[in-house]
Amino acid sequence: MIVTNLETVPGKAIDEHYGIVQGSTIRAKHVGRDMMASLKNIFGGELKGYTELLVESREEALSRMIRQAQEMGANAIVNVRFSTSSVAQGAAEILAYGTAVKVS
């Protein structure tokens, strides 16, 4: 599966469009991590626990999107975009979406 945020796959031609595919996940912070983060908050800087959490969620969202594209029979996803929104206090939604295509 070729995943790119370009509008085409460089060096390949798009034969067929399958429409939008998407994957999303909503993650809540874990209490232990939250406590560490609130300590860290006094001094500022990177909150590693949260960075990891969001990286994991983004990978999950991407793999859900890829699974949906595979079910459609696509072999590439182009024009991929990410979006993050906080849906509730302490929870974030990560969304990845793109267009499933067949290239050759």
Binding site: N41, E46, R81
Partner: protein
């Protein structure tokens, strides 16, 4: 009162030291990865169309939070207005760090195209909450066949 001064003072000293160390690391790593260009163009470079062996999604992200002292300064700024310089350096280093992580996730790529930056607020710093932002940098890593 004494407690507040103690926390603010500690936040100022440690926060500034952390920021300086981070800027040094960013500068060194930016120099190291200088040979790999990143651009916001949507197409690959002229004449590379036939030489591409792989094009794949690359991303890097970082979550940063403001320290208590800077938050206090920003609070003062809200009274008088003007540029909130204490937040600017935080966001600046977060963005540069995110781009570096994107580059470092594909160390052998020849260049990156269609790079985008997205910033989202995880907590806005109102009330007891402290301002925390996530910065995500993403783009397409291009590998050329040698």
């Amino acid at each position: 009162m004494f407690e507040i001064i103690f926390i603010l003072g500690g936040a100022y000293l440690i926060g500034t030291a952390v920021e300086r160390k981070h800027y040094r690391s960013i500068a060194a790593r930016e120099k190291e990865t200088l040979r790999v260009p990143i651009s916001t163009r949507k197409t690959v470079q002229e004449g590379d169309q036939q030489r591409i062996s792989e094009a794949t999604l690359a991303y890097g992200s970082v979550v940063v939070s403001i320290d208590r002292f800077k938050r206090f300064l920003a609070g003062l700024r809200n009274i008088f207005g003007g540029e909130v310089a204490s937040y600017a350096s935080l966001i600046d280093r977060a963005r540069r760090e995110a781009f570096l992580r994107m580059k470092e996730s594909h160390p052998h790529a020849d260049y990156f195209v269609n790079c985008r930056i997205e910033t989202s607020t995880l907590s806005n710093g109102q009330g007891r909450a402290v301002g925390t932002v996530e910065v995500l940098a993403y783009g397409t890593a291009i590998y050329l066949s040698k």
